[in-house]
Amino acid sequence: EAGVAQSPRYKIIEKRQSVAFWCNPISGHATLYWYQQILGQGPKLLIQFQNNGVVDDSQLPKDRFSAERLKGVDSTLKIQPAKLEDSAVYLCASSPEALNIYEQYFGPGTRLTVT
């Protein structure tokens, strides 16, 4: 079974530039999550999709962050404009979210450095 795919793996940009991350979840997984993980901290949920609908985006800084999941499969997360404090690893995870199956499967992450 193929895992969660993310690209790019690394990205370095200057502040005020824009950047986009891509995620392809495990086939058949209805739920997709984007997390931000700052060094030394646990993952922080940015947004959760159920199929192509948003379930939770309460911690997404909507003035600069946006995400979409067209057709309920792939997803993109965009930051525009980036700030220095956005430097972090951006993790994508997916879950079947079926009865009694709540495990999240994570991708390798995208390490973003904003200079």
């Binding site: 646990g42 949920l45 939770d56 993790l91 390798p108």
Partner: protein
């Protein structure tokens, strides 16, 4: 507000030592509990989980965790660690039911010296 507290941020052990990592949570209802591990250069992966039933849960690589409801705890244990257990360990909790957010601890960095 729901929260997860991991007591040890950095742990250093010698091989064959026993390990116990603390995890306490704050949540009033039924919970699902998880321990995830992140080995150097690798992605987060599930170590073990508790949904219901036997409060002593066994996971991969010889790890186990015990859910003590009265103490709101889900401590991770391993009787004898190996150098390959060097990793970051995260405790996570979510309320039981659909579409509940997973709340993460800050993580514990474990270094095992050979």
């Amino acid at each position: 507000a729901q929260s997860v507290s991991q007591h040890n941020h950095h742990v250093i052990l010698s091989e064959a030592a026993s390990l116990e990592l603390g995890c306490n949570y704050s949540y009033g209802g039924t919970v699902n509990l998880f321990w995830y591990v992140q080995y150097p250069g690798q992605h987060l992966q599930l170590l073990l989980k508790y949904f219901s039933g036997d409060p002593l849960v066994k996971g991969i690589k010889g790890f186990e965790a015990e859910f003590i409801k009265s103490k709101f705890s889900f401590n991770l244990r391993k009787p004898s660690v190996q150098w390959s257990d060097t990793a970051e360990y995260f405790c996570a909790v979510r309320g039981a039911g659909n579409n509940r957010k997973l709340i993460w601890g800050l993580g514990t960095s474990l270094a095992v010296n050979p």
